[in-house]
């Protein structure tokens, strides 16, 4: 029994059916694929000219798919942005404030009598970037859960691609925060504080206290790994780098998790409760993993274990069937 050859563009059609909405599929993608199929079956003078025609046809199809994909992604992202950005921004501000307050309460009374107002403001402002790296993924997750839950099922499907793009953008922002802004703020904070408290130690190099791992940026960490002072230092620095990288990937895991959690329970309280529980679980796993990173081989396993476990949970929640009552509610 001979196997029947597939029609030209058949696998592209299957892929497009999974990605594009019905209107785009019917009005743009399928007509283009139909013409591709027709063109590829036309008789031609030589094999070379047939190959050229096929190549030209497929390149045009990829252009159509790329155009439709980009348009869909941008349209859905704009929609997702308009729906969730305000909630995420408010949650981010609240959590940042909540994380900044404890060190503020601890430090300000200690240094306030010994510094002028400008230095005090500088110290307070330098505390903010230290909180941002934690508050951003948490706020992103909670803002998404609340927003996606409120959306109807068709709107939720439109939110998916926007959420994925948003998670990537958020991850890039986290990279900038954890690898550059936070180390700079940490070092600046220590310098301002030591100057304010009149520490008489002479620093080498001059200008501030020597940098610890938390004060090293991306370049400095990589330099320290490339030229380690000792085997122990090499392991510790690598573990620290992976902790920061794992933190950068957290928005992607949280984005998927938000899509999986939202709409799984009818009650808003249950949804937010589950979200906070998983967030706490992530925090515990991440803390344990970061602590264990120096002792576990390979080094990256510890920091990434929280992302791995919660990521698997997110995918499972995305694909597990919802209860009939919840489905009926979302179908309107």
């Amino acid at each position: 029994m001979t196997r029947r050859p597939r029609a030209p563009g058949a696998w592209l059609k299957q892929g497009a059916e999974q990605v594009f909405d019905h209107v785009t599929l019917e009005t743009v993608v399928l007509p283009a694929l139909a013409d591709l199929g027709h063109e590829c079956t036309l008789p031609s003078n030589s094999r070379l000219s047939k190959a050229l025609v096929t190549l030209r046809a497929y390149s045009a199809i990829w252009k159509v798919l790329g155009f439709c994909g980009t348009r869909m992604l941008l349209r859905d992202s704009a929609y997702a942005f308009s729906i969730v950005s305000r909630r995420i921004a408010i949650t981010w501000a609240v959590i940042t404030l909540a994380l900044t307050l404890p060190p503020l309460i601890h430090e300000v009374p200690r240094v306030a009598p010994r510094v002028n107002l400008a230095t005090l403001v500088e110290i307070v402002l330098l505390l903010v970037p230290q909180a941002l790296a934690i508050s951003l993924p948490v706020a992103y997750f909670l803002g998404l859960v609340v927003s996606v839950r409120a959306a109807s099922l068709p709107d939720r499907r439109r939110l998916c691609s926007g959420v994925i793009l948003g998670s990537v953008v958020c991850g890039m922002l986290m990279f900038a925060l954890t690898m550059f802004v936070m180390p700079w703020a940490n070092q600046a904070y220590r310098t301002v504080l030591s100057n304010a408290l009149n520490v008489t130690v002479r620093f080498t190099p001059p200008g501030g206290p020597p940098k610890g791992l938390s004060e090293m940026n991306w370049t400095e960490l990589n330099d320290a790994i490339a030229n380690p002072a000792s085997a122990h230092h090499f392991v510790v620095t690598r573990a620290h780098l992976h902790v920061r990288l794992a933190l950068c990937a957290a928005p992607l895991v949280f984005g998927l998790l938000a899509l999986g959690i939202a709409g799984r329970w009818r009650s808003r309280l249950a949804t937010v409760g589950a979200a906070i529980s998983i967030l706490l679980l992530y925090g515990v796993l991440f803390g344990l993993g970061a602590k264990a990173a120096r002792d576990v081989d390979p080094v990256f396993l510890g920091p990434w274990v929280a992302n791995l476990i919660v990521g698997i949970l997110a995918v499972a929640l995305l694909y597990l069937p919802r209860s009939r009552a919840v489905q009926a509610q979302h179908n309107g």
């Binding site: 029609a7 209107v23 009005t27 007509p31 252009k63």
Partner: protein, 104 residues
């Protein structure tokens, strides 16, 4: 409301080429439009243009009759709607009037 009406009447250069070709020939496939346009329409964007024009009600389409190969995706034949013909007429008239204006 006003904006929506303007969008319905708006005609880009590519849409105008498509309408001119369709009005002249009656009905055509996407690929035929590209071939007949002498480079004014591109294969990568003609389907997007046709899809948009269909949503605006300027053209309508129907599948070709079933072919011998059941696996093949049926091609889509496009033809102008009455609204599309009127819009093209209006644009042609406006273009003619502007061309006749003294000092242009």
């Amino acid at each position: 409301m006003k904006r929506r009406r303007t969008e319905r009447l708006g005609l880009s250069a590519k849409e105008r080429v498509v309408l001119e070709l369709l009005v002249a020939s009656g009905s055509m496939y996407g690929l035929q439009l590209v071939d007949e346009s002498r480079g004014r329409l591109k294969r990568g964007t003609v389907y997007v243009t046709l899809g948009r024009m269909e949503q605006k009600g300027l053209v309508e389409s129907q599948h070709e009759p079933a072919t011998r190969d059941p696996q093949a995706i049926p091609r889509r034949m496009y033809r102008p709607t009455g609204h599309g013909r009127r819009v093209l007429d209006a644009w042609t008239t406006v273009a003619r009037v502007l061309a006749m204006e003294p000092g242009r």
